[in-house]
Symmetry: C2
Subunit: 272 residues, 2 copies
Amino acid sequence: MKEDGIGPGQIIRRKQDGSLEYQGDELTIEEPLEIRIGEKTIATTMRTPGHDEELAAGFLLSEAVMRDGDKIAGFSRPKTARNRDNIIVVDLECGKKVKLNSTQRFGTISSSCGLCGKESIEAIRQNFPPIKSTALRIDIETLLSLPDKLRANQSGFARTGGIHAAGIFDANGKALIVREDIGRHNAVDKAIGRAFLDQKLPLDRHLLLVSGGASFEIMQKALAAGIAIIASVSAPSSLAMEFAREMNQTLVGFLRPPSFNIYSHIQRVILK
Amino acid sequence: MKEDGIGPGQIIRRKQDGSLEYQGDELTIEEPLEIRIGEKTIATTMRTPGHDEELAAGFLLSEAVMRDGDKIAGFSRPKTARNRDNIIVVDLECGKKVKLNSTQRFGTISSSCGLCGKESIEAIRQNFPPIKSTALRIDIETLLSLPDKLRANQSGFARTGGIHAAGIFDANGKALIVREDIGRHNAVDKAIGRAFLDQKLPLDRHLLLVSGGASFEIMQKALAAGIAIIASVSAPSSLAMEFAREMNQTLVGFLRPPSFNIYSHIQRVILK
């Protein structure tokens, strides 16, 4: 028993009936990850360990450091660092160089200059073209089946709400990739990073489902992967909707069967 | 009617009975905010407009650029910029200088070097001392009343889940400050920023309630404001719990009446 009354690995739970009990403290792991290209630190993010290569790949794709068609030569951990598990080194293909503006900030590539929302969208457009018209269409039944499928692909603890998920599905509702992370954006980076490493981009025949809401940054990541339909369980932001409308993406929100909202480009949802 | 079948200001809703209808597109606003000290850009964040001064103040406090006792001389908008509403300029008190390491990254001050979790906590400790023992104690009834009080202080739209909230309460459950933002961290920055500007720090007789879960970064912000009890509606992360244990903070999670969990320093909750 520690000084604070809670031993290692323990928490105290107040139950519905008002009684108290000790429980195990199973929590989603949060640790920093430093992403390096060679010797250079590109970014650090708080993430749930696992699939670090995918996270790094998805991040570099989202930030337009890498592009569809580029290849990553490999990944490594620094040999000498004590916390090597929290550092991932990306090795680029021979001859590939990274253009990094010294003032470039990561996290939201576009929002570095007090832009207004519309200008943020324009800045993204300079890096990523809008989605081309695709033949992708999804029917309502398939759409409504996705939240259950996302959960079915998550770990058990996910149901407590301690971790976010992002899933990439085809038009038949088949899960291609599902990834989890304590950070919403990281979960998306892991999912699109996997597809990038497998050279499956653009994902213009696929749909992205995220467990939370859709923000500007989520939309940007989806666009970087060429995803034409984005669905979220919660509300999108105003800028996410504007982004979707400009970039020819179909945005579905509040996907809580049997209901949902469509915010843009309804032609990809078969409404019959 | 736009080309995509949805007019400006419209969305399409699939209702419970399967029928479709057009609705208004009321969404939480997301726009970038650039925070400057004088001419220098410190950070940009995607936020919900409103209380920008508080957001800037809370951010500078959280990142240890400002400290308890410091004063901000004032705020302004750039005179000439087109998007002046998305830029906030912080003017420091005469003689006050800001030490900014050129490699300093913001967002998570501590996580700039692939630290392990424990080292991240240690890095924060160098900027902010652990909470001193305080007389603050809260009884279970008051604790259980807080989620309703937080919601009562939110805007109507908040109930749809499109916006996060952070509230600072006293030991009697009285709300001191409640702030909303599309970003969880921004909501906390606004709340502690208000207290900072009102020279009410440290908030060691107060409790912070956040609408989501407690991450490392939320705990860091609470510590910067000297807050001894942090409660969250969802799950904390592993690192949030470790942080709370090290920094002498009481961490409550899954605060969903009549239940909750206590992860650290139970002495501040009157368990009778």
